[in-house]
Subunit: 198 residues, 2 copies
Amino acid sequence: MKKHASLDGLVEALRRLPGVGPKSAQRMAFHLLQHDRDGLSMLGHACTEALTKIQHCELCNTFTELSVCETCLDAERDTSLLCIVETPADLLMIEQTMTFKGLYFVLMGRLSPLDGVGPKDIHLTKLVQRASNGVVREVVLATNFTNEGEATAHYLGETLKARGLTVTRLARGVPVGGELEYVDAGTLARAMLDRRAT
Amino acid sequence: MKKHASLDGLVEALRRLPGVGPKSAQRMAFHLLQHDRDGLSMLGHACTEALTKIQHCELCNTFTELSVCETCLDAERDTSLLCIVETPADLLMIEQTMTFKGLYFVLMGRLSPLDGVGPKDIHLTKLVQRASNGVVREVVLATNFTNEGEATAHYLGETLKARGLTVTRLARGVPVGGELEYVDAGTLARAMLDRRAT
Ligand SMILES: [Zn+2]
Ligand SMILES: [Zn+2]
């Protein structure tokens, strides 16, 4: 019976969200239809807008509506400092600490050989180009302090040091095994200020 | 800074979903943008489709794309039996038990005087009209076994008995305080078969 095509379609689409199972998706769909049609409309438009407008910054690889994002275009930034993070969420967390005035590169992932995620998937060529522009002096490795994040930091550190760059790592104020996105801003600020040569 | 209008819009829209806070919304938005653009597109279309196509059945009040839903139009159904549920999710749960061959009325809520939810909000007039069509003989009250669901059942039971209808309630196989949507189908089947006069 294909009797609720639109409803089934909405439930199916909501199930694509991370952490949302069939029961939650149904509950969300009914909630929107019954109590929040404005929200349903907003969500529809927001998805379509995001899909067409949001792309990756040519320089730092983060999500942006421009070809080069506003952070990269910001003339107040210290262009000799480049901070490498795994995700845009991590970038936002570091911005919140207000301890870093340089620029960023967003890997959009981390090395994970077991999952088939290699250097190409974290945009290594683009990163090396970016870091080798003759202006960047120090690269701050701000990948997560998980096993994969540490391995990624090690790999990138070796690669970039081989090109004559100073490479630092966030201080170990971040709890071992922790993910940046869930650390409080104070701890992260401490870790940024205490970053050390690697 | 309004520098990420589309991204902020997407995060804001996702926050309208029940149980989704700011962190989850951001995580969902980044996940879709980075790993599941098809899902983002599906969600956009599904919301828009649902908004324009899904309405309430003229007879039973559930969500449908038709003016009268397929259940209400189904000639195999026993039109002398009318089961009253709080939500479309509850209706689907009862359908899954395959113990009920009558028709439904969906209240789209429950009486809750403290929250300002009165008889009008659960479509009492529409329900009384529906139950008083001269064909319905028995009304099965299948509201939740919560305090509000029980109070709603009591109120509706009195109202409908006063109009000469036989009124039954799902048997107390459903755990007290439980919500239909989260009960296993076996328990719910037992409760349907054991429904009793009230
Ligand atoms: Zn950028
Ligand atoms: Zn109907």
